[in-house]
């Protein structure tokens, strides 16, 4: 009896060690969980959009994901399909007339879209969260936007971006699609002319 008891005690000790390790892992897990407040949170109630983590994300050629099929009606009521722009660089801008940062970047977009028109770049807006088209059309007039915009009030077009792709996550978001129809770059904040060029120019250069 004493012999078996002794052996049991020894094996107990190794099990103890194992359990300690398990505990540390579980503990670490729960620690960060309990600190659920360490979670990322953004956007204040009433601001009507979520601030993105910022910065421009790019994907190297060859690792890019296909852009989703985006087609629908524009603010002006015309049909639009970005498949028609195959072979061109497409700049997608998610915006809303109510959104201050969108208003701040709008003149830059108007300008850069004119500058790059001849280099095979098409700008397409995705207007979202404007309950009616009126203010959005006024916005375009106000800032001299000449390129078309999808009217997507509830964000169903944005939903088409596949999981894990560089998808729009804030208003404004800007996404650049390369000549092969693949997502190449994304920005989750308002852009100035320089940054916009930074995003587009390398893709124009790609052949």
């Amino acid at each position: 009896m004493s012999l078996s008891r002794a052996s049991r005690r020894r094996s107990n000790r190794t099990r103890h060690a194992a359990s300690v390790a398990a505990v540390v892992v579980a503990g670490a897990l729960t620690l960060s969980a309990c600190g659920g407040d360490g979670a990322t949170s953004s956007g204040t109630s009433g601001a009507k959009f979520v601030t993105g983590s910022g910065g421009i994300s790019t994907v190297a050629k060859g690792e890019r994901q296909d852009a989703p099929k985006l087609d629908g009606e524009t603010l002006e009521g015309e049909k639009l399909d970005i498949d028609d722009f195959k072979g061109k660089v497409v700049v997608l801008n998610v915006w809303g007339s109510w959104c201050s940062p969108c208003r701040a970047e709008a003149p830059n977009f108007a300008k850069v879209s004119e500058e790059t028109k001849d280099k095979g770049v098409e700008f397409v807006g995705i207007n979202t969260r404007d309950d009616s088209k009126g203010p959005a059309i006024e916005f375009e007039k106000q800032w001299g936007i000449t390129y078309p915009s999808f009217y997507d009030p509830i964000g169903k077009l944005v939903l088409r971006f596949p999981k894990g792709s560089l998808n729009p996550q804030a208003i404004p978001s800007t996404i650049v699609i390369d000549r092969e129809g693949k997502i190449a770059a994304r920005s989750l904040m308002a852009l100035n002319e320089k940054k916009l060029h930074q995003m587009i120019d390398p893709l124009i250069a790609e052949k």
Partner: protein
């Protein structure tokens, strides 16, 4: 008359708001109903006979006077408790409500703690006894004390009426059951008055309860005459009484003391010592009845004797260190430390709910910082703005986990070992065991043992023959239940934790006709756990709000209380899935692909049209306004950012402050507050401004507020700020042909939704169910051993001895043994020997 009518329609309301004279009899009636509720009735006989200090046997010839006196004193006891809590709640009602959330959390923590404490009282954990050793002497003096205890103990089942009473007392500050936002603090004298008034019906109720107690007491006495005919039931009841007398009859310590102790009055004498004694005496037979660890080493003696020389010193230091480590580990994994840690955890949650938390509301934290300049840095150092992720809170949390797991793992292995080994053989003298019986039979010992083995096997005992006896054990589920409970607890905690890590939660306001697609661009606000992946984890779906239906109580004191809140939605799974229609109600969320969409709130969005100086329409649409009170008095802003030209054709921006009431009190009533949440008499009040809205700077702005820093108010003819109340269809003209704004004959409703995704709910639920099942198993199943010894006596007749031993003292064991004995006896009948008594279960 109307008062009476109200009483008939809603007794609760009458008790709360009606005339006091009417409230009293209704409270009495409600008391009667509560008294016969399943919660209370079973307790009555036990209390009654204890109160009167008469055991069941002599209850039959007890004097009625003594019983009445006892019952009255008992009633007085719990009346004191109820009246005082009633008065207390009445007085502190408002205060309590203001701190409702905090209190809920603190009490929740305490509740968990109590739960653990209760478990801690289970013999298999602490091996300690927490019985009240001094109890009030049975009889009249003890009656009021017992009444008070009854009152306190009865709190969880205060019954529908008293519950709602106290609830209402807490809510009284609001006059009727309105929303929580409408708080009016009563002046102090009225509060006091209210407190007194609350005390009175509580008293009336107690009187009723008492009367019932008296009546039942009488009935009890009468039914006692039947007792003699049902001795078995009598015995049951007797034990029941003593159980109540000890207040925690179920919670006897881990003693293996004999059954007879239950009946003796001197039972409190050193049960622990008895347990120790018994354990030694039963030796192997009593060993391993549980997996609870036993204390062995004590600090200070680990090193032992130090041998001379460096080697000896090192060896000693090693022994000392490992000894301390082992000791520390044992302490940490003890239930006591786990309880302390749990208590600390609930203590830590107190600042977490009192001090504003950065994770919850950053703006509040900032407000706090500016308000308390000296205190804020101290709080910062202590991590009080971020309690749940602070070092000290995490330390407690981790230690608790280590403690729990460190407790479970070794015990699980031990239990597995016990399952694999066989029940120990019979002790030498079975007579010493708590339950014992013997008889003589002419059947062969071998046959008796075989029969016993078969019988015990049929009863699902684990049994085997050892020498001249059969050893059997049953009730392993108790231990299993205990372990399952602990493991389930950890599963629950871990799944809550993972849920927190991977969860996401966001809000969205949708006006009728509008919609939402589950992408980050569509949220109004969004919060996620630290491991949530923004690129992967949102389930793709969308829905549109077709219609919102809200109806409200029209009349009575509940006027304005919501009756229905329904959001009729059309939803689609995936980016372009088929559209389906459904209805979301307050506690019935829409579930799509692991996400839940809850209906949270609602409000109104008046439709307005703004025209500029040239008469051109520059804005037309529904403007959602945020509610400010339970009658949906709402406010917000209308911003015309683009397209507006003033009368000279110059670009400008317009801003309106909007104030909306769905039901207007009427002009000249002196209030712009809504009278009713439904759309009975909608009125929109507007102020108009022009200038820069401040939206072009690129900084995010609250869409419901007007930033007037660069705006100028339009003036009316008298030079005052232009403002006007509009009925649907009316137009407010801006001065000097600056344009107009029209309140169209259309008010849309909006609803707010919370879209949340929290993995780990299923395991948490499974964990919770398993925890309850485990707890039930460990509470209601008894681990016990039974031995059957059959030896041939000197006269050639077989002597059968049966004995039982339980982990804890229970009346069930001797009953079960008697049953087993009867079964075995039918197969090995008692040998005729009229000279001495041959059969009997000692109990």
């Amino acid at each position: 008359m109307s008062v009476l009518a109200a009483a008939v329609t809603d007794p609760n309301t009458t008790v709360l708001n009606g005339a006091l004279i009417l409230a009293l009899p209704i409270a009495v009636a409600a008391g009667l109903v509560s008294f016969f509720s399943p919660c209370v009735l079973p307790l009555v006989p036990g209390y009654l006979s204890y109160v009167t200090g008469i055991s069941g046997t002599d209850l039959a010839d007890a004097r009625r006077g003594r019983m009445v006196a006892g019952a009255s004193l008992f009633v007085l006891g719990f009346t004191a408790v109820f009246v005082s809590t009633g008065a207390l709640f009445g007085y502190f009602g408002q205060t309590l409500q203001d701190h409702q959330e905090t209190l809920t959390r603190v009490l929740g923590g305490l509740m968990i703690l109590m739960g653990f404490f209760f478990m801690g009282l289970m013999p298999w954990i602490t091996q300690r006894e927490f019985r009240f050793h001094k109890r009030p002497a049975a009889g009249l003096a003890g009656a009021p004390v017992l009444g008070a205890l009854f009152g306190i103990g009865w709190a969880p089942c205060t019954g529908p009426t008293l519950g709602s009473r106290h609830d209402a007392v807490v809510h009284r500050g609001e006059r009727g059951a309105r929303g929580r936002t409408d708080r009016r603090v009563l002046p102090r004298p009225r509060r006091a008055l209210r407190a007194r008034r609350d005390g009175v019906p509580a008293g009336a109720r107690c009187v009723r309860l008492g009367q019932e107690a008296l009546r039942l007491g009488d009935a009890h006495r009468r039914t006692d005459d039947d007792r003699d005919r049902h001795p078995a039931r009598h015995g049951d009841l007797e034990r029941h009484h003593s159980g109540h007398a000890g207040l925690d009859g179920q919670l006897h310590g881990g003693d293996l003391s004999s059954m007879s102790k239950t009946e003796t009055t001197d039972e409190t004498a050193a049960a622990a010592a008895a347990a120790e004694h018994d354990e030694q005496e039963f030796g192997e037979a009593g060993a391993q009845l549980s997996t609870a660890p036993r204390e062995r080493a004590v600090p200070g003696s680990f090193g032992g004797v130090m041998q001379p020389g460096a080697a000896g010193r090192i060896a000693w230091a090693w022994r000392e260190t490992t000894g301390w480590v082992r000791w520390f580990w044992r302490q940490l994994t003890s239930m006591r430390v786990a309880l302390i840690l749990l208590f600390l955890l609930s203590l830590g949650a107190i600042p977490g709910s009192l001090v504003p938390q950065t994770g919850v509301d950053e703006t509040k934290v900032e407000e706090f910082r500016t308000a308390h300049e000296t205190l804020a840095p101290v709080y910062d150092d202590l991590g009080l703005f971020n309690v749940y992720s602070s070092v000290w809170f995490s330390a407690i949390y981790i230690l608790l986990f280590v403690s729990l797991i460190g407790c479970i793992v070794p015990r699980t292995w031990q239990f597995v070992g016990q399952l694999r080994s066989r029940p120990p053989g019979a002790p030498g003298r079975l007579t010493r065991l708590p339950a014992y019986t013997t008889w003589r039979t002419e059947t062969d010992p071998e046959q008796v043992r075989e029969a016993a083995l078969a019988m015990l096997g049929r009863r699902r005992f684990r049994s085997h023959a050892v020498g001249d006896a059969v050893a059997a054990e049953k009730g392993y589920l108790r231990e299993a239940g205990n372990l399952i409970f602990h493991i389930a607890l950890i599963v629950m905690l871990v799944s809550f934790a993972t849920g927190q890590l991977f969860k996401s939660e966001g809000g969205k306001l949708i006006v009728e006709g509008g919609g939402f697609a589950n992408t980050l661009t569509q949220y109004d606000d969004f919060k996620s756990g630290s491991l949530f992946d923004r690129d992967h984890d949102l389930a793709p779906f969308s829905f549109t709000l077709d219609k919102f239906v809200g109806t409200y109580e029209r009349t009575g004191p509940q006027r304005g209380t919501p009756r229905t809140y329904e959001a009729h939605v059309t939803y689609a799974e995936g980016a372009d899935g088929a559209e389906k229609k459904t209805r979301i109600e307050v506690n019935r969320p829409l579930e799509v692909d692991g996400s839940k969409v809850y209906l949270i709130g609602h409000g109104y969005a008046p439709v307005v049209t703004v025209r500029d100086g040239r008469g051109r329409e520059v804005f037309s649409g529904a403007v959602p306004l945020l509610p400010m009170d339970s009658n949906v008095t709402s406010s917000g802003a209308i911003k015309v950012m683009d397209g507006y030209r003033d009368k000279d054709g110059k670009k400008d921006q317009l801003g309106f402050q909007a104030f909306f009431v769905p039901t207007f009190a009427g002009a000249g009533k002196g209030t712009m507050l809504s009278q009713y949440p439904g759309l009975d008499f909608p009125v929109l009040a507007l102020n108009a401004f022009h200038g820069s809205l401040g939206v072009d700077a690129g900084l995010p702005q609250n869409v419901y507020q007007l930033d007037k820093r660069k705006m100028k108010a339009f003036k009316d003819a008298q030079g005052a700020d232009l403002k006007q109340r509009l009925l649907p269809g009316e137009t407010m003209k801006l001065p000097d042909g600056a344009g107009s704004i029209t309140f169209e004959k259309d008010v849309k409703e909006w609803a707010t939704f919370q879209i949340s995704q929290q993995p780990g709910n299923v395991p948490a639920l499974v964990g919770a169910v398993a925890a309850i099942a485990g707890l039930a198993g460990s509470l209601f199943i008894q681990r016990r051993r039974v031995w059957v010894r059959a030896v041939r006596g000197e006269d050639g007749v077989t002597v059968v001895e049966m004995a039982g031993l339980g982990r804890s003292e229970s009346s069930k064991l001797p009953e079960e043994l008697a049953d087993l004995a009867a079964t075995l006896n039918s197969q090995a009948p008692t040998a005729p020997d009229p000279a001495e008594p041959v059969e009997g279960v000692r109990a």
